[in-house]
Each structure stands twice: as structure tokens, then as C-alpha cells.
Symmetry: C2
Subunit: 314 residues, 2 copies
């Protein structure tokens, strides 16, 4: 029985990640990438995989190639929850100007993603950390209904759901521990321009911790023990910002899942770890940099973040 | 002779600050202030006065009231270099929307400031720290011609001079140790969009240290020992951003002037001190907050900055 219990317990050491797996076509001032691997759950899962195993729940079409599946597997990402549906994989096309903080969506072909109903495999239901990627808040709640009470629920969303399904989103947020948003989304969700006021209003909706992502301007975290500010890593070459926010989330939740303790100090290091993964993500198109990253490189950049921000007392 | 030499030396313990003293009319979403005390040198001098005495070189018109002079004097600001000219004081009028990072200049009446030719009083010429506020780069150089070799020359400028007198500005920058710019100005001066590349290009023009101010997104410093990033203090009420950059410069140069040592660690604390003074400045119109500030309040907010940014090693 001890053996069985150990076997039953082991999946809870992995993060459950639900979101999109997609093809991205991206144009930046530095080049163009056509139908490369993208999607919020892809970036999240690969970033988080440096810390703990990841159980991926998403949907792809019959056109999704074996090489991408293999890339996930080599990163320890479990694909039992990756549904394969007849039809085409979600395709997103975007374009960036020199101001890499702003992007235009050229087209969004939902394809099979339009019919996505997350089904959580039995093995995944005792996950202690759950990441709800940017999908319909009703589906996000259906994911939570399928899992046992996790230790941590982290959630992303976007302007489309904030404007289109505000009541559904609020019902979901009541069950979320950490919400990750960008600054425009935080303003939209709260109706407050000032980010400190926005953070207070959003935390009153449920999430104890709010992480506001500001692209090249870094991250602000608001939590039970006050606020924490982290810069973005100053990079000489930002090649493609696509996936930076999801890579941040992957580094953040992944680090939290791997940490023995909880509390403010672990959350702060998780923010830096998220920023570290995001800083690597933007160095290349798609997952090209993350899939060739090593843990020593991650730890070295974390140390550089400390050197970037540290100052002495008076 | 020892007494005379001491007397001659004492003014070098003060900062020489050259720039504008003005009336500001400011409109924000939170209120309106009419013809209140403003100008780059005013904010700089009051902010710096918490650390060392300041010798002010600027020009005002015959309409400049005694109460403002008295406010400067109570902060230990020497006014021998404040020229009084027949005519009206420089008047700037601006308007902010909810996005307090962006402002529209409604009108700029240079008045007596149009004829400003900085004359450095004999007593000020051995100042060890010089702050060249945002004036014509030709005049900035004329200031440097009138002083003995200072220990530190800090300089501000703006888009008007970057576009209008680039060669004159570059000649001035050859003699500058620390240049303070906002991010748009750094991009404009360097012709580089990426701030890391922009910083390298600007530092090649002369300034060993470049401080890029990003408003609510904080500050990046690029120097001989790499880069340093500091957030802005997350405030619930930003009342009026006017003067924040000059208050930053005052806290930064003031702290450097008061420090016994030089080097990277002092520069980093100076950035935080600048950010601290800027965070107080924006809490009220004009110099209202800075003129009622105390050193213990400053030191307490400096400590809060440390708490805001500190995280442990892995």
C-alpha cells in the first residue's frame, strides 16, 4: 500500500498547466517567423519545466507535428492531457514595431481551440499547483472543478475576457491565489488608473497576490506583505517579445512549486525567476531560446538580477 | 592665513546649480495650480538642500515675490547668483491627463529667461559639484568655463536642444560626468531604440555615467561597473509629476555631494535618494511637499525602497 500511495502522490509534484498550444507567425523589425511553436501553455510549460515536471492540458489539430511533441517530452512535459482533434491547430499572427511593448494582432484563427473543453486526466487531478492560462473564465473554473484542492492556483487572463465576461471572470478570481496581468489589464479590470489602487481593488476580488507585468519596465507584485518591484533585465537584443508573459508565469509558478517553503521571500525570488525566464524567451523567436537553455544559465542570470538591483542601506 | 583658506574653501562644500526658476501653471485630473513656484533649478535646489548647501544661479523677473526667495533661504539655498531682471519671470503652463507620464505644454513664456546668461559669482567658482539644468548647451559650457575643475559635473537636457543644437550639446557632453535624461531623450540623442545600445552610444560621447529616468517605471543607471535598475515608489496618489525629474537630480547630486566616498555603491544609493525625493515631489503641486519635508521622512522612504526591491540569493 505504501508503494501505491507513493505512486498516487507523485503526480502532485508536477504543475498542471492549462492553456493554448498554437502556431505563431510573428513579424518584428528584426525578422519574421512563420508558423512556429507558440501558445501560452507552450511557453509556460517549457519555462516551468526547469523546476518541476509539467502536466499539459491543451488541444492541437491534426497538423501539429511530432517534432514539437518531442520537444515537450524532452523537457519532461507530460502530454496525456494534450488533446489531438481533427482540424487545424490554433494560429496567431502578430506584428511588432520598434516599440516592442506594443503589438498588433494581424489575425487569430482559433481553429480547434474554439472547441477546447479542458479534460483533466485522472493522473493530473491531485496537482498541487495549477496554472490557468488565458482561456474563457468559465473553462478556467471547470478546470478547478476537476482537481482536488491545490496548494496554489495561478491565473492569467486578457482584455477580451475582462470586457466580454466580467462576471464569469470575477467568479473565477474568487478561487485564484495569484493573478498575473499586464498593467493595461489591471487598469481595465479594476477601473482604476493608479496601479496601487488597481491592485487593492483586484486583490479584493480574491487573489491574495497580484503580479502586474509591465514588459520592458519590469514587474510589480502586490501581496499580503506589501509590494515588490523588479526590473526587466536590460537586454541589448530583444528579438521577439511573444511569450514573455507566459515564460514569466512559468518561471514564477515553477520556482514556487519547487520551493519547500511559502511566504514573501519565496514569492520575491519567484518574481525574479519569472523575469529571468522571460528575459531568455525574448532573445529568440518562438521557444528557440528556452528549449536550449540550461539551469546554470538560469541561475547565473538570477545572480545578475541581484547585482542589477542591489543597494546598501544608508 | 589658515582662517582665510578655510573661508575660501567652504563654498566648495555647496553644489552649484544652474537652471530655471519659474512660475508654473499646472492642470492635472486632480486639480489646478496657478502661477506657483516651479522651474528646474527650484526643484533641484530644494531637493539637494537636504544634503548640502546649494548655490543657485538663475534669473527671475521683477514680479518674483519675496516669499519664494524666503522659502529658498530657509532651505539653505544661497541666492547671490539669482539675478533679478526687469520684466516678467519665466512662465510655463502644462496639462496632464490620467496618464501622468505624458504631458502637454500649453504655453511657454520665456520672458526674462530668454536673456539668461549665467554669471557665476566669485564665491561659487570652486564648487566641487555642478548641476547644469536644462538650458542651452552653449550656456552650460559657459558655466563650466567660469568654474574651477569640479569633482562632478551633472547635466540635464531636453528634446529641444537634442534636435536643435546637437553639435553644441555634444561639445558640452565631453565635459560632463553624469548625464540625466528621460528614455525618449536617450533614444533621440543616440538614434538607438534599445536603451542598452542607446546608453553605450551616449556614454561614448563623454558622460561616464548615464541615468535614464522613466517616470513611473523608475530609473536605469549605466556606468563603468554595469547597470543598476531602480523602480519608482508605488504611490497611491500621484498629484502632480511636474518637477519629479529635477527633484530626482537634486536628491541624486545632493547625496553624492554629501558622501565621503565615490564609486558604484554610492552612485546606487544616490539613485535611490533621487527616486525618494522625486516620490515626495509628486505628492503635491509645486514645491509644497518638498518644502515641508524632513530628513527622517526621507530616510524612512529610502528604507522602504530597500524593502520594495530586496530579494535573497537562491
Amino acid at each position: 500500500m505504501a508503494f501505491v500511495s507513493l505512486w498516487l502522490k507523485s503526480p502532485s509534484l508536477a504543475i498542471l498547466a492549462v492553456g493554448s498550444v498554437a502556431f505563431d507567425t510573428v513579424e518584428t523589425p528584426f525578422g519574421r517567423a512563420e508558423r512556429v511553436l507558440g501558445g501560452s501553455a507552450s511557453f509556460f510549460a517549457v519555462a516551468a519545466s526547469f523546476f518541476v515536471p509539467v502536466n499539459l492540458v491543451a488541444v492541437v489539430g491534426s497538423d501539429f507535428p511530432e517534432e514539437h511533441l518531442q520537444a515537450f517530452r524532452t523537457r519532461g512535459i507530460d502530454l496525456e492531457g494534450l488533446e489531438r482533434m481533427d482540424g487545424k491547430t490554433f494560429h496567431w499572427q502578430g506584428k511588432y514595431s520598434y516599440d516592442l511593448n506594443a503589438r498588433d494582432t494581424v489575425c487569430t484563427d482559433l481553429n480547434v481551440f474554439e472547441f477546447f473543453k479542458p479534460k483533466i486526466p485522472e493522473r493530473y487531478r491531485r496537482s498541487e499547483e495549477v496554472f490557468l492560462g488565458n482561456i474563457d473564465p468559465v473553462l478556467q473554473r471547470e478546470v478547478l472543478d476537476q482537481v482536488e484542492k491545490p496548494r496554489l492556483v495561478a491565473c492569467d487572463t486578457m482584455n477580451f475576457w475582462i470586457a466580454g465576461k466580467p462576471q464569469e471572470l470575477k467568479r473565477t478570481l474568487e478561487r485564484v491565489d495569484v493573478l498575473l496581468l499586464n498593467d493595461a489589464e489591471a487598469r481595465q479590470l479594476s477601473g482604476e488608473w493608479n496601479v496601487v489602487k488597481a491592485a487593492r481593488a483586484i486583490r479584493a476580488l480574491g487573489p491574495k497576490t497580484l503580479v502586474i507585468k509591465k514588459g520592458e519596465h519590469g514587474v510589480l507584485m502586490f501581496g499580503e506583505e506589501g509590494s515588490f518591484a523588479a526590473p526587466a533585465f536590460p537586454l541589448e537584443e530583444v528579438f521577439d517579445p511573444t511569450g514573455a508573459g507566459d515564460s514569466f508565469a512559468g518561471g514564477f509558478v515553477g520556482y514556487l512549486a519547487s520551493a519547500r517553503e511559502r511566504g514573501e521571500e519565496v514569492l520575491r525570488r519567484a518574481v525574479i525567476m519569472g523575469s529571468t525566464l522571460a528575459s531568455f524567451c525574448v532573445e529568440a523567436f518562438s521557444l528557440d531560446r528556452l528549449l536550449h537553455l540550461t539551469r546554470p544559465e538560469i541561475d547565473e542570470r538570477f545572480r545578475l538580477f541581484r547585482r542589477l538591483t542591489l543597494f546598501e542601506e544608508l
